[in-house]
């Protein structure tokens, strides 16, 4: 899909979420959905397979979103039903970025091997704001391949303190 079309979908979905008055919640849930689609090949294949009826793909989305707000399930179902499941992560990233920009924040994606506590998230956000000089909208992604430590991406800046990267460096040196 072209960048303009992704932008148009993101703008439309963000407007819907804003109109529903749940942009903040929807944005967080959509972000979790996008990372799940990215990390799960089978899920991604199911949502992008045009031979599977749209109703069935929407049912998969409802099963995935589960306890998510009704608006989130409807928005994801709308994208998948329109045959744009392949672009779902990109559309959601645009939505998150738009929502962050609306609050004058930069999206800070943090990958961790284990889930972070609320306290850790708030301290990490504060640390990143100090390090980058920008207000950040923290998004934590649990990624076991990180092994240990954290990888933080704020805009174009990457702060890598993961065990995975250290191991890769050792492997490369070997």
């Amino acid at each position: 899909m072209s960048e303009a079309r992704i932008e148009a979908y993101a703008r439309a979905l963000a407007e819907i979420a804003s109109a529903e008055g749940s942009l903040d919640t929807v944005e967080k849930e959509l972000y979790a959905v996008a990372r799940a689609v990215e990390s799960n090949d089978q899920l991604r294949a199911t949502l992008t397979d045009e031979s599977i009826p749209a109703a069935r793909r929407q049912a998969v989305v409802e099963a995935l979103v589960g306890s998510a707000a009704n608006t989130t399930a409807q928005l994801v179902g709308l994208v998948v039903g329109a045959g744009r499941g392949r672009d779902l992560p990109a559309i959601i990233d645009k939505i998150v970025k738009r929502a962050s920009n609306a609050q004058n924040k930069e999206v800070a994606e943090v990958r961790s091997a284990v889930a972070l506590t609320t306290d850790q998230q708030s301290r990490l956000a504060a640390a990143l704001e100090r390090a980058t000089g920008k207000a950040v909208n923290l998004k934590v992604v649990v990624d076991p391949s990180v092994l240990g430590g954290l990888i933080a991406t704020v805009g174009d800046e990457v702060i890598d303190g993961s065990v995975r990267t250290r191991l890769d460096q050792v492997k490369s040196r070997l």
């Binding site: 990490l124 933080a152 065990v163």
Partner: protein, 180 residues
């Protein structure tokens, strides 16, 4: 002769004719006839005989000249043939020498080419051996790296307890927060 004529003249005519000698008149007529015949022969036959002899002499001379010419021509041809034989021998010698020279050149070039090919093959073989050695070395190094990497990952995985992970997270937050 005169004695014979005297005997004949002294003979008695009344006697019978001598059994050996002819009659006098007959001798006279016969002598005259003989003279006439000799004169005629001298007059007519002698020139013809001389002419025939001269013609025969001329023919023989011509044949001698022709034979001399033929001999001269034959000697010239023999000379030409001898010279041609000599030319053929020298040409054969020249061709043989040229063939020897070309053979020597071909042999020299062939040796040089074979030497170059052998050198190329040796260089290629040495390069192949070096490449194989490097490849083996690289493969061995890569295998060691893979094993070491897996071992390191397993060792790290075994030591990464939940507590260690939390310490790493706290360390990251502290280091990022203290960066400025």
């Amino acid at each position: 002769m005169m004695r014979l004529l005297q005997v004949l003249a002294a003979e008695d005519p009344s006697q019978t004719h001598h059994w050996l000698l002819p009659e006098t008149a007959e001798i006279i007529y016969g002598g005259i006839a003989a003279l006439i015949i000799f004169a005629a022969l001298y007059k007519f036959a002698l020139p013809a005989a001389k002419k025939a002899l001269a013609a025969r002499t001329e023919r023989i001379q011509k044949e001698l000249d022709s034979a001399a010419n033929t001999r001269s021509t034959a000697e010239a041809e023999a000379s030409n043939i001898r010279r041609a034989v000599g030319d053929i021998a020298s040409e054969r010698a020249r061709l043989l020498a040229e063939a020897d020279q070309q053979a020597a050149l071909l042999l020299s070039e062939g040796r040089a080419r074979i030497a170059a090919e052998v050198a190329d093959l040796e260089t290629k073989a040495e390069a192949d051996i070096a490449a194989a050695r490097a490849r083996s070395s690289d493969e061995l190094r890569a295998q060691i790296a893979r094993i070491a990497s897996v071992a390191a990952q397993n060792a790290v995985g075994a030591t990464l307890t939940d507590g260690t992970k939390q310490e790493l997270i706290e360390g990251f937050i502290s280091s990022v927060g203290g960066a400025r």
